[in-house]
Every structure is written in structure tokens, then in C-alpha cells.
């Protein structure tokens, strides 16, 4: 039995310890906001927050999560909600499939850096592919969130 703390709730599941966290979240626990894009750590569609940092859940066996707190795109955390609002404001999503991952990576960025430069944003967001090409709007939405944050 593996215990996972996701979005503030404990889930006890019976899976192979080497099952990637992505599939435990999607297929066993049933939160489908976290996406499968490549399964190899290339695209960032599967990002979740682990103790506030963005991790590719397709690369993380459930056994290595331990007591760490996980937050998915469905979860509640200040920077995520702030970013989601900016995403709406700037009409970021096209197909939307990559956006959970983009939002999680951006949340982790703001968690660690309340005033990221353009370079900081690029360095963080380079982990996420958007095949629809929403990068310019993602950047605007992140900057918008930063402004809101710093206004208080």
C-alpha cells in the first residue's frame, strides 16, 4: 500500500511501487487534469507540485514520493489560482492540453521567485511544450500575475 497526499487529501492505493506517479494520479486516484504527453520527461504535460516544486510525474515512481505533499492543477494554492485567473484574462489556452503542466511550472516559478525576469520565465518554462504555440500568451499571463502579486 502506498499513501499519497494529493490536494490536501490522503489516498491509499495498491500499485506497483515503480508505477509512475502520473498514472497513479490519473488511472488509480482519478484526477485527470494532470496530462500524459510523452512519458519520457520531455514535455512537462504531467507536471505536479511536490512540496511546491514542479516535477514531471511521469518520471517519478510512486514509491519515491513519500510524505511529500502533492498539488495538481485541480488543487488549491495561492499562486496557482492567481495564474489561472491571468490565464483566463489573457485567453491563453488553445487546445488546453498542455496548460495544466504550464500552470504548474509557472506556479513553482512564482513560489520560488516573486519577481521573475524574462530570462527566469524562459528558464523555468523551457520544460513545457505547447504544440499549439501559446507561449506568447503564457508569458503575458505570468507577467500579469507577477504584477497582481506585487501590487498586493
Amino acid at each position: 500500500m502506498t499513501k499519497l497526499k494529493i490536494n490536501g487529501e490522503i489516498h491509499t492505493i495498491d500499485v506497483d511501487p515503480d508505477m509512475p506517479l502520473l498514472w497513479a494520479i490519473r488511472d488509480i486516484i482519478g484526477f485527470t487534469g494532470t496530462k500524459f504527453g510523452c512519458g519520457k520527461g520531455f514535455c512537462g504535460a504531467c507536471m505536479v507540485l511536490m512540496d511546491g516544486k514542479a516535477v514531471n510525474s511521469c518520471q517519478l515512481p510512486v514509491s519515491s514520493v513519500g510524505e511529500n505533499e502533492l498539488i495538481t492543477v485541480e488543487g488549491q494554492t495561492e499562486n496557482l489560482q492567481l495564474l489561472q485567473k491571468s490565464w483566463e484574462e489573457h485567453n491563453v489556452p488553445q487546445c488546453g492540453f498542455c496548460q495544466s503542466g504550464q500552470l504548474i511550472t509557472a506556479t513553482a516559478l512564482l513560489n520560488g521567485n516573486s519577481n521573475p525576469s524574462e530570462e527566469d520565465i524562459n528558464n523555468a518554462m523551457v520544460r513545457n511544450i505547447c504544440r499549439c504555440g501559446t507561449y506568447p500568451r503564457i508569458k503575458k499571463a505570468i507577467n500579469h500575475s507577477v504584477e497582481l502579486k506585487n501590487k498586493g
Binding site: V15, T34, G39, K40, C43, Q94, C95, V126, I138
Partner: protein
């Protein structure tokens, strides 16, 4: 989903085993409070509109949503003509059914083909509501108007749309209706945000991959590495040992345009177990006829075919004579590789076959073709197959082909349970319907004044037609069109085609044939400008020549004035000719496709042999701009899509098998490389034309032209990664 359940509150409550009041029912983001259980009366004047007596308006989107914003664009047209309050609108996705008309979401034509029809539907609904109010108030309808979900009389007395439902139901819906004056549009022509933006930002939108059905299994399929190879034998022992794997079944190959490739499916209780089981599975293949396909060798063959005379697709004047008389001729050969769609969401489908009925939930661009193919496979009537369309995590043409859905039908039938077939990213890259690979030879003649007197365009590329009719070696007429309708005023022109047999499945990918043709035409025009010693912008405007309307087979006439206008605007917006920093340069391209006119000017720098694109100025004339938010987004996305293919796009085959595997070796543009993108939409009231695709073909040639300007190096093959520029 924002769909409001299509049931009355009373039956809804009954269904939940509850009697009445005080209950809040949440359906996605739509909350409705059922304090006073009172039947909601529905008014369905047509297939696309459901007005409820509580005023909620449910509009049906018949086309698939894959990021192009079609759900919002189409329904906002109805709402506008209807004078509905957009906040009261929720969108319902249509199932695949011919009663909705053509639902094929492809070819940048949803808005173009449905705009008038959606307007009429909205206008007719408004007319009935006005008549209903006239009846109720016993006044002439001519004294009433509709505004923001109300019918209003001249004194300002008003009644809500919902309150008119009972009467409206008894009335006939008029056929001939007055459409609005475009200057009165409220939603059309504005930057209307997508209705789905919140759900697409909080994880609640249901993509195909997110669909869950009770007792659903998951399956992954091992397919032959070579297209149309077949299973000789397989050993399932190791696969069955994987925890979670429950079954292994063979899938037939149906050599039809959209039939499965065939293979062996591993069925499991979760996706990961299915993937692991697939890896463990041992299959012996009969590789079939395509096992010698080597894309490098093949390119040599295609190139040889364009270096000799081909079949003539168009001829004007005497091109050979023009070359003889020319004071200068130049020749160039362009080579572009296969590409694959790689939508962010891999192909997948949930199918549940029960006896001779079947239900499908799938991210599909073509629900009706899906219905036809699945029912043919199951040998059952179409009426027994329900195709529910989920959100699509990108399509780009890949999800027009329902092979992956028929696969799921085959697995469900075999295991007698609902199943979700999930492709791995490797499957997606290695078993696609590939964008063609192309060799093109261009020859141009210039007179002593630098005027172009002769133009020869010869191309060879495996045709999409080969997917429908195996053995086809010549392009289909539509695959010549973007070369034959080149809008240049040159007295002697010829377009020829060479043979090109296909060794993989060839499909259509965002902007299709316009990618190779737009590239060769725009780069060669730039080469001619350089040869003539004329600025590329001036040269190109001269090449397009006089203002004229070119005859076409449809009502959309090809207007060279509009083409020149987008080019001039893009140049103006980019400040073409301005002084740029060291190592920087601009390049341009202009192309007409999907009935729209697009030009882009890009600014690049090449420093230490590395290219960076700094900004892109694109201008589109797509007729009346129905949703400027969507159009801008599509043009931004098209620029990124075009850059991905210019920088990295290359699929190669060896021994018949695709060599690339995943995003590690089939790379995509990422945020640090994304330039600033500026989009201008030309304002006019012409008929709306294509938006999703026409932004793509100009990007790669504009970049190549800019690199030439910056470095003097002309790159005639893509991707730029092969030239170590990225």
C-alpha cells in the same frame, strides 16, 4: 463541460432519488439551484438551439474543438443574430450525426461554411420570439425588437426570452429572415473570449484521454514498425506476467484509408500496465513491401524525378522559349522532409461495444467518418453507433483519421468491455499519417531589366491520394493547386509534377501542400530578387503585378490587390528597410491558402552561426473577422508551428521504420525561442475565409530569406537544425 443537462428539473431530481427543494446541483461550472422544482420547458426551434423557460440558452457546436476556438466562434454567431445574452449561453457538443450537416473539422472551413447558416438560425429564433411577444401583448410584431435576451416594445416594456418559450413552442419558425446589418454585430468581429477558457485552465475539461466509463480497461497496441506489415506470430507470456495486464488480443489490419494498421493489443487495468505489457510482448512481423524504405535514398530519387521533365500541370506562354531568350536564368532545388502532427494529446479513444450497439468517446475531427468506419467494422447500422466528441488536445489533421478509434472498437469487441486505447508518444511519432516529403526544382529567367520572363516549378511528392488509392504516384489536383495558382504576372509559366510512390501513410497536416509549395515559391522569388538586384519587397509586389481577380472554381475570387495589401501591411508594421543591429536581417513571405491572404515579415539574427527569430509581423485577410481573439491566437500558433517545422521538423525512415521516437528527437519549439508575434487582421466585410492553417506556410520561407539577408547563405533544405543553425 458547461453543458446543462437536457432534462427537466423534476426528472433530474427524481433520477437522484430526491423529492424536492434546497438542493444545489453542480454540473461542471454550471450551478443551478433547484429550490422550487418546477418543470423547465424547452424550446427547440432547430437542431442548434435550445432555449429553456428559465432563460438558459444551450447552443450546439457541430464542429470539433481542438484549440481553434470553433465552439465559441460558431455559437457566438447564433447568439449575435438572436440578440441573446452571451452570459446565458452554454455550449453543447454535437454527437456525430449527418443531421448536423458536414461535421468534418478540417481544411480551415468551419466558420467559412457555417457562418451564413448559423446567422440564419439565430435570426429565425429571434423572429419567433418576437412573434411570441407580439401575440402575448397583442401588438404588431413590427413594433417590437429583441435586445440582450429580452423582447422590448417602443415604450421600453420588456419580457425575457425564457418567458416566451411556452408561446414560441406553438409557433412556426420562419424560413426567410432578415439578417442583421454587420455594423450592429455585438459578438461577431470582436475579441470574444472562448467559453471554454476556464475549464481548459483548471483541469476540468474532458479530453478523450480523460474519459472514464465504469469498468473501463486500458489498452496499448504494438504495431509493425513498417507501414502495412503484418503479425506473423506473437508470444504473450511475458506480457501477461506484468501486474495489471489482463488480456492480449490481436487487432486486424484494415487496409483502408482510416483502418487500423493492425497489431497486438495488451489490455490492462491501467495505462501504465498496458504500456509495460506492450514492451514485454514479443511479436514476429512480416514486414511487407515497405521494408526497404529509406528516406535519404528516396529523396535522391525524388530529386532525380524533378531534374527531368515531368507531367505538365499548367502552362502559360512558352517557358522554354523564355529561358532561351533570358539574359539570365537561375535554378534551385528545394528538399523538405516528412513531418508528423504530434498533437499534445496522443491518439486515443474510449469505445464500448455491446452486442450490435456501440458508444464512442473520442477526440475526433471527423465524428461522422468515425461513425461510418466503426459501424462498417462492427458490421452494424450507423444508427447503432453513437460518437461523442470530447475536447481534442490538438488535431492538426491527425485526428481526422479515425484509425485509432476503430482499434478501440476492435479491442472492446474482443474483450466485451469498455476500453480506452492509448497510443504512446512513440506510437504517435512512428505510426502516423505523415506530411509528404518533397523535392522541388525551380527555374527562372530574367530579362536585362531584371524582370522575370519565365517560371518553371517542378515538384515530386508522395500524394495524400496514395492513402486512399494505394499505388498512386501522381499528385491529386488539389496538391498542384498551390503551385499552379501562383499569383505572379509572368508571361511564361509552367508547373510540372514528377512521380512519387508512397511508402508510409501520407496524410494532411496543418496547411498541407502549402508548406512545400509556399516554401519553394517564396524562397525562389527571393532568389530572383537577389539576382535582379532589387529589394525583395518591391520585387515581390512587381511579381504579383496588377490588381486583378483571378478566376476560381468557387465564389471566392482570388484578388491580387488583397494579396499585395497584406504584404505591404506586414512590411509597414515591421518597418521594413529600417536599420537593424549587426547580424540582424528581415525576410518576407506571402501566400494565399484556404481562401485567405497572409504575409509575414520576420526579423532574425545569426550570430556565431546560430539563428534567433526576434519578431514576426503577420497580417491576415480572412474576410470578415468573426472572432478576433481566435484569429489572433491562430496566427500566433501558426507562427510557432511554422517555426517548429523550420527549426526541427524532420521524420526519417530506415528499413521502412521511422527513426524518430519522441520529443527528444522530434523536437518542438519552446518558450525561450518564441519570438514576439504581432498580428494584424485586415478589416473588411468580405465572406469569412480560413484561419487555422493559412498562417503556417509563410513562416519557414520568411526565416530562410531573412537568414540569407543576414549571412548570404541560402538554405534550400529544412530543418535548420541540419545546418547547425539551431
Amino acid at each position: 463541460m458547461k453543458d446543462v443537462k437536457n432534462v427537466s428539473r423534476r426528472s433530474f431530481l427524481k433520477g437522484l432519488g430526491l423529492a424536492s427543494g434546497g438542493l444545489i446541483i453542480a454540473s461542471g461550472t454550471t450551478l443551478f439551484v433547484a429550490c422550487e422544482p418546477k418543470d423547465i420547458v424547452e424550446f427547440n426551434p432547430n437542431l442548434f438551439v435550445q432555449l429553456n423557460s428559465d432563460g438558459n440558452l444551450i447552443l450546439v457546436a457541430s464542429r470539433s474543438e481542438m484549440g481553434q476556438g470553433v465552439r465559441t466562434s460558431l455559437t457566438s454567431v447564433i447568439a449575435d443574430e438572436m440578440e441573446a445574452d452571451w452570459d446565458r449561453v452554454s455550449i453543447k457538443q454535437a454527437v456525430g450525426d449527418a443531421k448536423y450537416g458536414d461535421q468534418n473539422t478540417d481544411g480551415s472551413k468551419s466558420v467559412r461554411l457555417l457562418f451564413e447558416e448559423m446567422r440564419k438560425i439565430g435570426a429565425a429564433t429571434k423572429a419567433v420570439l418576437i412573434t411570441a411577444a407580439a401575440k402575448k401583448w397583442e401588438v404588431p410584431a413590427s413594433e417590437l425588437r429583441a435586445e440582450n435576451h429580452f423582447v422590448i416594445d417602443n415604450n421600453g416594456k420588456k419580457i425575457g426570452f425564457g418567458d416566451l418559450v411556452e408561446i414560441a413552442k406553438t409557433l412556426e419558425v420562419p424560413k426567410d429572415v432578415q439578417l442583421k446589418d454587420p455594423k450592429d454585430f455585438k459578438y461577431i468581429g470582436k475579441y470574444l473570449p472562448s467559453k471554454d477558457v476556464a475549464n481548459l485552465s483548471n483541469g476540468s475539461a474532458v479530453f478523450g484521454l480523460d474519459k472514464r466509463v465504469d469498468n473501463m480497461k486500458f489498452a496499448a497496441i504494438k504495431r509493425c514498425p513498417v507501414a502495412f506489415g503484418t503479425v506473423k506470430s506473437y508470444d504473450k507470456t511475458a506480457a501477461l506476467k506484468v501486474k495489471g495486464v489482463i488480456d492480449v488480443v490481436e487487432i486486424p489490419m484494415l487496409r483502408k484509408p482510416f483502418g487500423p494498421l493492425g497489431g497486438v493489443a495488451v489490455v490492462a487495468t491501467n495505462t501504465w500496465a498496458a504500456f509495460k505489457g506492450k514492451e514485454a510482448l514479443k511479436v514476429e512481423w512480416d514486414l511487407g513491401d515497405n521494408n526497404a524504405y529509406d528516406s535519404e535514398e528516396y529523396m535522391k530519387q525524388l530529386t532525380a524525378n524533378v531534374h527531368k521533365k515531368g507531367k505538365v500541370a499548367k502552362t502559360v506562354g512558352d517557358v522554354e522559349g523564355a529561358f532561351k531568350k533570358a539574359s539570365k536564368t537561375i535554378e534551385s532545388t528545394y528538399q523538405l522532409p516528412h513531418l508528423v502532427h504530434a498533437p499534445m494529446e496522443v491518439p486515443n479513444a474510449v469505445v464500448w461495444v455491446q452486442g450490435n450497439t456501440c458508444e464512442v468517446w473520442a477526440p475526433t475531427q471527423e465524428p461522422q467518418r468515425t461513425r461510418t468506419e466503426v459501424s462498417a467494422f462492427l458490421e452494424t447500422g450507423e444508427e447503432n453507433v453513437t460518437v461523442n466528441v470530447t475536447f481534442l488536445g490538438g488535431g492538426f489533421g491527425r485526428k481526422s483519421k479515425p484509425d485509432y478509434i476503430v482499434e478501440a472498437a476492435a479491442v472492446s469487441k474482443a474483450i466485451k468491455a469498455p476500453v480506452q486505447v492509448v497510443w504512446t508518444r512513440e506510437d504517435d511519432i512512428q505510426h502516423g499519417y505523415y506530411h509528404t516529403v518533397a523535392a522541388q526544382y525551380m527555374k527562372g529567367g530574367l530579362d536585362k531589366d531584371g524582370k522575370v520572363t519565365g517560371w518553371l516549378h517542378r515538384f515530386a511528392l508522395p500524394s495524400i491520394a496514395s492513402t486512399f488509392a494505394p499505388g498512386t504516384v501522381d499528385p491529386a489536383p488539389f496538391e498542384s493547386a498551390s503551385a499552379t495558382n501562383v499569383p505572379f504576372e509572368i508571361p511564361n509559366m509552367q508547373v510540372e509534377t514528377g512521380e512519387a510512390p508512397a511508402h508510409v501513410r501520407i496524410g494532411w497536416l496543418r496547411s498541407v501542400i502549402n508548406i512545400p509549395h509556399g516554401f519553394a515559391i517564396n524562397v525562389f522569388a527571393d532568389e530572383l530578387a537577389n539576382e535582379a538586384g532589387v529589394d525583395p519587397l518591391e520585387f515581390r509586389l512587381n511579381l504579383i503585378g496588377s490588381d486583378r481577380i483571378e478566376e476560381t472554381k468557387n465564389e471566392y475570387k482570388y484578388d491580387t490587390a488583397r494579396l499585395k495589401h497584406v504584404l505591404k501591411q506586414a512590411a509597414k508594421n515591421a518597418d521594413w528597410g529600417k536599420k537593424l543591429p549587426e547580424g540582424h536581417a528581415m525576410g518576407l513571405a506571402v501566400h494565399y491558402s484556404f481562401l485567405s491572404y497572409v504575409a509575414s515579415v520576420v526579423e532574425v539574427s545569426v550570430i556565431n552561426n546560430k539563428v534567433k527569430v526576434h519578431n514576426i509581423h503577420s497580417v491576415i485577410d480572412c474576410g470578415l473577422a468573426v472572432n478576433k481573439n481566435t484569429i489572433t491566437a491562430q496566427m500566433e500558433g501558426a507562427a510557432i508551428f511554422g517555426m517548429s517545422l523550420a527549426f526541427y521538423g524532420k521524420i526519417t525512415a530506415k528499413n521502412g521504420a521511422i527513426e524518430q521516437t519522441n520529443f527528444g528527437d522530434y523536437q518542438m519549439l519552446r518558450m525561450p525561442q518564441a519570438p514576439k508575434i504581432y498580428v494584424e487582421i485586415v478589416e473588411n466585410n468580405e465572406k469569412p475565409t480560413g484561419v487555422g492553417e493559412p498562417g503556417v506556410p509563410v513562416i519557414a520561407p520568411a526565416i530562410v530569406n531573412a537568414i540569407f539577408k543576414a549571412t548570404g547563405n541560402r538554405y534550400r533544405t529544412l530543418p535548420l537544425k541540419d545546418h547547425k543553425l539551431v
